[in-house]
Amino acid sequence: FLRPPPPPPPGGPQPEVAAPRGGTRAFAKRTLSWRLLGEGASGQLAVDEQRHILRLAFRMWSEVMPLDFREDLAAPGAAVDIKLGFGRGRHLGCPRVFDGSGQEFAHAWRLGDIHFDDDEHFTPPTSDTGISLLKVAVHEIGHVLGLPHTYRTGSIMQPNYIPQEPVFELDWSDRKAVQKLYGSCEGSFDTAFDWIRKERNQHGAVMMRFSTYFFRNSWYWLYENRNNRTRYGDPIQILRGWHGIPTQNIDAFVHLWTWRRDERYFFKGNQYWRYDSDKDQAYTEDEQGRSYPKLISEGFPGIPSPLDTAFYDRRKQLIYFFKESLVFAFDVNRNQVLDSYPMKITEVFPGIEPENHPFRNIDSAYYSYAHNAIFFFKGNAYWKVVSDRDRQQHSWLPSNGLFPKQSISERWFDICDVHTSTLNM
């Protein structure tokens, strides 16, 4: 998966990070294996703790780039992509000698292995003394991935160790630097929605807060719109954050919100669940004692299943359900589909450029409170729906038209998968 490296210079190979002209700059595989060498474990921390810290370090990178990392304890050593080890002085067959306590604490080889100087006092993330093994590991993994040193304040790739702030994470520039080598994270979502909560501020006034969620397979992210990234530590498993709903492949979410109703529904297959925001769990039964999940055909007569997606239009008090090339407008007050429906999605939501349209099988219809707009997601792309405000500024735009598609990753940043073995971290 790599081109053969150039022969080492006569003085011995250097842990080169500047890409040789025409040389390989990045891994081509999407999943890389790693292992802490049995004979290279530190004598300062328990082996399991070292492995946990290294696993977290790899995960932190995979949260911001389209690569993931899995620990491999079984394969022959030559088959492991990244090997890590601790050593003192002359160590692990490495041509570079460690210098003892102080100064050099570790080094790494581009697209290769990582060595830590075990004469240094490496400590776990919870310690405020010594040198954080997590921080050093994240830095050295950056070199393995192809990043050089930088003196930019805040970067994890600064050459000198900076005693750990209360929190350290990969900032915007570090993310963009590694994405320059490996690209941005792409991929379709099962559903996306904003979750509304009522809160009281310090004066006792009721405020509405929202959180943005993206769901894919059996995991999800909370997206922080103000910070242009996901919440640190995401993705996490659906079953850990959402109780009583299907643990994977959700079809749709609808928040039915009127003056008298505040109901949240998850849809999968031919069933739907109602979610209790206060108790943070799915209802087991409704007010009449009928149990959840219920059949979509019973709760929403005239709506087919399984669905592609759905969203609730608060102004019109309609739920738009999408399946294949059709859209169904469901009147929540009369509890039935509007007479003229179903209709083609292209008729209800025409493309401003006719050929620039998702046409069918939309992944998610998402109303964003951050952007005050509805978006249709399909694959890596989104189409923004023309709003009333858009039409005030440009009256020629069709009502409910779709703007030409854009890339999801250019508006919602760094929504990246991690290896499934690290989902529980």
């Binding site: 250097q14 990070v17 210098d99 306590s101 050099e104 070199h143 000198n160």
Partner: protein, 124 residues
Amino acid sequence: EPLFHSRDRSDLEPAPLRRAQPIADPVAAQRFLSKYGWAAAPPGPGPRAASPHAPRVGPRAPALAEAVRRFQKVNALPASGRLDAATLAAMNRPRCGVPDTRPLPPPAPGPPPSRLPRPARPKR
């Protein structure tokens, strides 16, 4: 297997921590700067290098000063070109062993403007 085991089992004791030689003179500083890509390696002493009595070859002063100046600039130190205490302290700080061979990359374009002030960074 190890070739020799001592009776008192002292061979099984962990080796005492070795300390890195502090960088305190121009020769050590030159070695540091060469190692991390701030300066070219100093010329070797010649065929007598193998002898333990071969003289240590000092760095050429102007080249060293220039390298020191470059190092001082990126470390936010006064770019005097002299090995003052602050510069030596910077060289002795814990650091990664990978050379700083690349020029500083251009800063990434900043994130799209946010409408609201950013809160303090939350804990993971």
